[in-house]
Symmetry: C2
Subunit: 336 residues, 2 copies
């Protein structure tokens, strides 16, 4: 099934079930007040939501209405956890190579993750508000999963069953603030403004064969200022699978229902090389920093600029028939 959260003036919005083709929806208010409430009691609510979804997709739902992605809040407008991995180690290796640093061997066996801010996410069609566009503003296209309760010390195998929903993310980064912040040793803070999520989140079964229980085997599409920027395969070069990432976060603590765990920037290595832009026949990139790194490696300096006020970013994923799965993230950077 597909779920979304519509704006209704409240902080947590109105939970709705959306049709597979994203054209219609029906309110789920009688089942749960909002998505967090549904996840708090997922064993029970998911059955009811699935029944409502079946009715909607079989054109049996009463009160079905036209679905408008621009009326969506993030599926979870705020959440109790947003933990983002760097599962595509190629991305990390490129960043390090650009500054002449080696990648420690452990990076291929021990997931790199950061704890992100989760108290005020941005909707899929909302502006990215920032006080300055001189901070090296970058988009980062990712996939994320939402879990139910995951007990401490759960193995990756255990964690497979705790992945309940999937969605897309734009995990914006302020590249200019990152070096100074990471040098302090405690990770990101000001360099990570609020993340945005796709209009719709889905249960894994909606992906059919494209979900293998561990990762999504489809390309993730990024369009910057109207030009195709990236279409890497999310199922390729994902060093750490989603169950592995979930297991990482529950090593020393219990994980609460509604936790969001991100894949990190989707990135393909492509035949051992650094990858090519879409315009040159490559799969391109899911963030600007990567192409700048490759430009630096090849030409000594980057030539693609970071985002400025007025720039737009679109992130989406289509199924094998070209049908949008999650709806589209479409954002414009604006001055706050």
């Amino acid at each position: 099934m597909k779920l979304a959260t519509l704006k209704d003036g409240s902080r947590d919005g109105q939970l709705v079930v959306v049709s597979k083709d994203l054209t219609s929806y029906v309110s789920a208010a009688s089942i749960a007040a909002n998505l967090q409430t549904a996840l708090d009691n997922w064993a029970e609510t998911s059955v009811k939501l699935q029944a409502l979804s079946d009715e909607l997709n079989n054109a049996q739902a009463t009160n079905a209405q036209e679905f408008d992605q621009s009326q969506c809040m993030p599926p979870l407008p705020r959440s109790y956890q947003w933990a983002d991995g760097s599962a595509y180690v190629n991305h990390v290796e490129l960043v390090r190579k650009a500054r002449g640093a080696e990648l420690p061997d452990s990076f291929w066996t021990d997931p790199l993750m950061y704890q992100g801010g989760s108290d005020d996410f941005i909707g899929p069609r909302e502006d990215i508000p920032l006080a300055s566009d001189e901070w090296g503003v970058d988009f980062e296209a990712e996939i994320a999963v939402i879990t139910d309760d995951v007990p401490m010390s759960s193995t990756p195998e255990d964690c497979k069953n705790h992945i309940k929903l999937l969605m897309l993310v734009n995990d914006c980064s302020l590249r200019g603030l990152i070096p100074g912040e990471l040098a302090k040793g405690f990770g990101f803070f000001q360099s990570k403004p609020a993340s945005a999520f796709s209009p719709v989140c889905i249960t894994p079964d909606e992906l059919g064969d494209a979900w293998d229980g561990e990762k999504v085997n489809l390309p993730l599409l990024s369009t910057l200022n109207g030009d195709a920027f990236g279409k890497p395969e999310a199922g390729v070069d994902m060093t750490f699978t989603f169950p592995k990432l979930v297991s990482h976060i529950c090593k020393t603590r219990n994980v609460g229902a509604g936790s969001i765990i991100g894949s990190g920037t989707v990135s393909n290595k492509m035949n051992g090389g650094p990858g090519k832009p879409v315009s040159e026949g490559g799969v391109g990139y899911s963030c600007i920093a990567e192409i700048r790194m490759i430009e630096t490696i090849e030409n000594g300096e980057p030539s693609t600029p970071f985002m400025k006020f007025g720039d737009t970013i679109k992130i989406e994923m289509n199924d094998k028939n070209g049908q949008s799965i999650f709806g589209t993230i479409e954002q414009t950077m604006v001055k706050n």
Copy 2:
């Protein structure tokens, strides 16, 4: 006023108003379902909660019941943000000195903060469950504030008015996991298990003169296995005040109501020296790592062990008359 969250079988507990002397409480269910709901609409709910508090403290409340700290969940059993500062730079300097590293000058002007997990906090009288006691388990006694909504780019002066509640924290650390995790560059994750909070949170006015609008001018008391371990003055050597810490987290994003911002381990420098244990007439320490650092500086190696299964930690703060303000955090480390 003083507020607490009682266990009622739900994830977010039952909000109650507690008497100043912590002996009685009255349900606030008619005002807000839980503390987060109250904070979501604080301008309105705080007035009603204050009226209820006045009734209770004037012995006019109907249905007042005996308050039992062991029935408390954390004031916010889960929250949308837990951001912890290192406001007592003396603590940071000591850690660095022990390993022979210099403290960058910027650490005295730019707050060091990390984003912590907030999806599953531990109650004030609940065990600290861990799979191993070989990870260098340490307590960290801190003070934290809870805010309402704080708009992006708010100044420290603006932020003063957004501090709505205060409480105590035990921000456990797994010292043995920290070096490897910080070396990866993205900050803490597995090295920070779930934090615990005091039974009661309070509005700043409850502190009287001890709250100067920026910090708490009272000693924070830590007792390890029954022995006084620390009593540093929380108002001394706090390089970054709470308004400054709140302003730090809203530089590039809006901050949502119910965000918890910690002071970091309370630590006093004491006449320029490294400080002394309570047993030697000093103010002692708010974590084990500090005394181990001082032992290392003085003797070449640490002699105080980290916590083992069965060890207990008690954290509290008394007013000038010796009356407990927040109730006590009392936890035992156990095998998960």
